[in-house]
């Protein structure tokens, strides 16, 4: 996988730098689309028609663009969260659960207390971030203290969150909306809802928050002391320890930041989209897909943003594609999986298109701390 050199890109050769970073992901996307079109041909569809419908459903009308942006927002935030964790040497597969917890925390604040307009929204968003941060900090703490690998513990916390929340909005659950026949919570008060950017549309202010978050994460990682510590722990925990960095604290802190981003994503979903409540089936899949977004974006905030918009576009356009050409929306998941494969194994792309590897790029080394040593 292409891992950019740990320093922030210097402004001297920005265009050239962007081009080299972007060529592999672009080719990976292209190759994935090519392969998926084979699946379409086999099931009797014209791939050109299908992809055109996809593009139109994503960008063709104002409604389409709005859908793309709305769907991209949680991808941006969750992708940032995963990228941040990666930079810190951690694999946060628990995004799914952190999104849930963030949604639930935000919804709870949103419907159970009454606060003046702007304050209510801010408090609800913060609740989401705190919820996500705490939920991620648990596996983080276990890893720091006992070495328990976060890959397994975060998956476990995902399932725990899912089941507990299912109970909470289930038949006799404490968060179940009264008189509702489906598992859902009450809607949040108007004072807690995200304002719309374009009236009479679905476009809410969440996209602004997501883009802001990208800038903040960039600044955090490469321009601050905390970011230096996070990156150093991720690049070489032994050297970090020797440099005086508290590795255990950083593991927990990085997971917490990562979870906060996921929690924010979940909060924005409930506070920005009608009917402004939480139900089952909400946000499912963002957790894993955001891994693909992060890797496709070279785990860099700006790349992640672009990749998230692409994934949002694919999700937004898929419905139109299914309507027109009968290709099931699930093909998008396969496309996304293939994109991830090609980006992760960029040597495949390199050998197909004959691109040489540059000296300072190398594989991300997450496997270092697997065997109980560290």
């Amino acid at each position: 996988m292409t891992e950019p050199s740990e320093a922030a890109p210097r402004s001297r050769n920005l265009p050239g730098l962007i081009l080299s970073r972007i060529s592999i992901p672009l080719l990976a996307i292209f190759t994935a689309l090519l392969l998926s079109s084979l699946v379409m041909i086999v099931s009797g569809t014209n791939p050109i028609e299908a992809y055109l419908a996809l593009a139109e459903g994503a960008f063709g009308t104002q409604v389409a663009i709005v859908e793309t942006l709305i769907k991209a927002t949680p991808f941006i935030l969750a992708g940032l969260g995963i990228a941040l964790a990666f930079r810190g040497g951690l694999f946060n597969i628990g995004m799914e659960g952190q999104l849930f917890v963030g949604s639930v925390a935000a919804v709870l604040i949103g419907y159970s207390i009454e606060l003046p307009p702007v304050i209510h929204l801010i408090v609800a968003l913060l609740a989401g971030m705190v919820g996500g941060a705490l939920w991620a900090a648990i596996p983080g703490y276990l890893k720091a203290r006992t070495g328990a690998h976060e890959v397994i513990t975060t998956i476990m916390t995902n399932f725990i969150a899912l089941r507990v929340i299912n109970w909470a909005i289930g038949v006799n659950g404490p968060m179940r909306a009264p008189r509702s026949v489906v598992p859902e919570t009450r809607a949040v008060y108007e004072t807690a809802r995200l304002p719309l950017l374009i009236s009479d549309s679905r476009l809410h202010a969440g996209i602004i928050l997501a883009l802001l978050a990208a800038v903040v994460v960039y600044w955090l990682l490469w321009r601050t002391v905390i970011g230096f510590e996070i990156r150093t722990v991720g690049a070489n925990p032994s050297a970090a320890r020797y440099a005086g960095i508290n590795v255990e604290l950083n593991i927990v802190r990085t997971m917490a930041f990562s979870g906060a981003l996921g929690g924010l994503a979940g909060a924005i979903q409930v506070l920005g989209l009608a009917p402004y409540n939480f139900t089952t089936g909400f946000n499912v899949g963002y957790g894993f897909d955001s891994i693909a977004v992060a890797v496709l974006g070279s785990i860099h905030p700006f790349g992640v943003t672009l990749a998230a918009i692409l994934f949002g576009a694919m999700d937004a356009g898929a419905r139109l594609m299914q309507l027109r050409t009968k290709v099931p929306v699930d093909i998008i998941t396969i496309v996304q999986g293939l994109i991830l494969t090609f980006v992760a194994a960029n040597q495949i792309i390199r050998s197909i298109y004959r691109i040489r590897e540059r000296a300072e790029e190398g594989p991300v080394k997450l496997s270092e701390l697997w065997g109980g040593r560290g």
Binding site: A7, R10, V225, R241, Y242
Partner: protein, 517 residues
């Protein structure tokens, strides 16, 4: 006339950016010990890896007993009677000696199930014991390798080669991990093997050993053969000149020490390793400003854990550490750094550098949070930049730019980055742990020079090294560590290789021999 045991002609091996072996001609006569001498990076190990089949040569031919051969891999090398004892043992610690020896050639019994047949442990054990006693080497087939000492493991490696029918034995830097006495034992084994009809290639960079044991000596430099000679016809100085291509200062010029106050005081220190065994048992010593205290000892006697305790990386079980008068026994690494300790670590890739980081970020690895590099939350890229440019110039670090990742630099330049970083702070104590391991002669000279320079500026220097020459060369006082204890501390004038060597092997001195330091 007996045919040569082994000959290589015109061997060339290229790696990206370097020609490791350049048209090498080399011959091993039957029944001789032929030393292959050269500094780190000269191409000795590469050449032997070619002979052993681990590398494919780009050009050239290999002859065994006069017949041209193509060696595709270690299996064929062994089939042709070529065995290799590597510098870093190729033994699997969790397995027994017998399992290690039969690996790849397992003898099975019972049903013929191929890879799933039952392994015949008893027969293998017996074969090993018989073989070992024939050559006067003692090994216990059922011992687990991780329980054996380094010298014993080396014996196992030799038996492993013999078990596979090696007639030619290649020993790659075998004495790097041995005490002087163990080295003598090894030489005795080598002579016995020669008497039994084997031939040996002995790779090393140690001049004294070569003169002591070799029948003939071939010197490699920069991938080429410089010349072949015999011990009786040459001297250390001449060999060193052949190895490096210019006059080499075998000893560093230094003025007598002017020691000042005590900078580091260690009392009764006890440290445990990762497996909860006590590896530093009640060590006490002190280092004064303006002197070099060298800790000699074969690796594995607690030095690594001692240094880690002295830099806050490993917790201390008992005892005290005082640095500049301040109690730092249980302090974190940052406190040590802030109190004026500098540390050049043993493993530069693990502790010393972040290989993925550019040079400028590596140079602020400990100071990133301090002014002028940081103000509040933020980092100042300009200050980082300026600092890097200054240090690269001052310490002569050869790098394409300050943004080059440290992993792209040569070993010597990587070490210079570490030294530059450590010495650019205000330093009262410099701990240098194996500072010149794996470096070329030029870098070694540079680092030694810097150490003495700091010592003359009044810095207290603690030098830990398993290279006895380096210790004897640089130290004002020498402490010897064995089995987690300091057996003695002697002034440099009274230290000889023999005396220190005995201590390194654990032979305690009688009170009459001990002179308080």
């Amino acid at each position: 006339m007996t045919p040569e045991a082994l000959r290589v002609r015109g061997i060339t091996k290229r790696f990206p950016g370097v020609v490791a072996n350049d048209n090498i001609d080399f011959a091993l006569a039957q029944g001789e010990i032929h030393a292959l001498l050269g500094e780190n990076g000269a191409g000795k190990t590469t050449l032997m890896n070619v002979v052993y089949g681990l590398y494919k040569p780009d050009e050239g031919q290999i002859f065994v007993k006069g017949d041209p051969v193509e060696i595709q891999g270690p299996k064929e090398a062994l089939a042709r009677g070529i065995g290799m004892v590597h510098q870093h043992f190729m033994l699997i610690p969790v397995m027994t000696v017998a399992e290690n020896l039969m690996l790849g050639h397992e003898i099975t019994t019972g049903l013929r199930l191929g890879p799933l047949a039952k392994v015949d442990r008893r027969r293998v054990s017996k074969e090993i014991t018989d073989l070992a006693s024939r050559y006067g080497l003692e090994v216990d087939p059922e011992a687990h390798v991780h329980q054996l000492s380094v010298g014993e493991q080396q014996r196992v490696e030799i038996v492993k080669a013999l078990y596979r029918g090696a007639e030619v034995l290649i020993l790659d830097e075998p004495t790097a991990v041995l005490t002087p006495q163990e080295t003598e034992d090894l030489f005795a084994v080598m002579r016995s093997l020669i008497e039994q009809g084997k031939s040996i290639i002995f790779i090393t960079h140690k001049l004294k050993e070569v003169l002591a044991i070799a029948t003939r000596i071939t010197v490699l430099r920069d991938g080429k053969v410089v010349g072949t000679t015999e011990p009786s016809k040459t001297t250390e100085a001449e060999l060193a000149r052949m190895m490096v291509g210019r006059e080499v200062l075998l000893r560093v010029e230094k003025k007598p020490a002017q020691p000042g106050g005590q900078v580091l005081i260690v009392e009764d220190l006890q440290v445990m390793d990762a497996r909860e065994r006590t590896v530093v048992r009640g060590v006490s010593f002190s280092v004064r400003a303006g002197e070099v205290l060298g800790i000699a000892g074969v690796q594995g006697n607690g030095q690594a854990e001692l240094v880690e305790a002295l830099t806050g990386l490993t917790p201390v079980v008992a005892g005290k550490i005082r640095l500049m008068g301040r109690e730092v026994t249980h302090a974190r690494p940052r406190i040590f750094t802030e109190t004026g300790a500098a540390h050049v670590p043993e493993d530069r890739h693990k502790h010393g550098l972040v290989l993925a980081y550019p040079v400028d970020e590596n140079l602020i690895l400990q100071t990133y949070y301090l002014a002028p590099f940081a103000s509040g939350f933020n980092i100042n890229p300009k200050a980082v930049d300026a600092n890097a440019r200054r240090l690269v110039r001052e310490f002569d670090v050869r790098t394409p730019s300050i943004e080059t990742p440290a992993g792209s630099l040569s070993g010597g330049n990587q070490q210079k980055v570490i030294v530059a970083r450590e010495l650019s702070r205000e330093v009262h104590l410099l701990i240098a742990n194996q500072p010149t391991r794996g470096l070329d002669v030029g870098s070694i000279e540079y680092i030694h020079h810097r150490i003495i320079e700091k010592r003359d500026e009044g810095v207290a220097v603690l030098l830990v090294s398993s290279e006895l020459e380096e210790i004897l060369n640089l130290s004002d006082r020498i402490a010897v560590m064995y089995g987690g204890e300091i057996l003695a501390v002697i002034p440099a004038e009274q230290a000889t290789a023999e005396r220190v060597g005995l201590l390194m092997a654990g032979v305690r001195e009688t009170p009459a021999e001990l002179i308080p330091a």
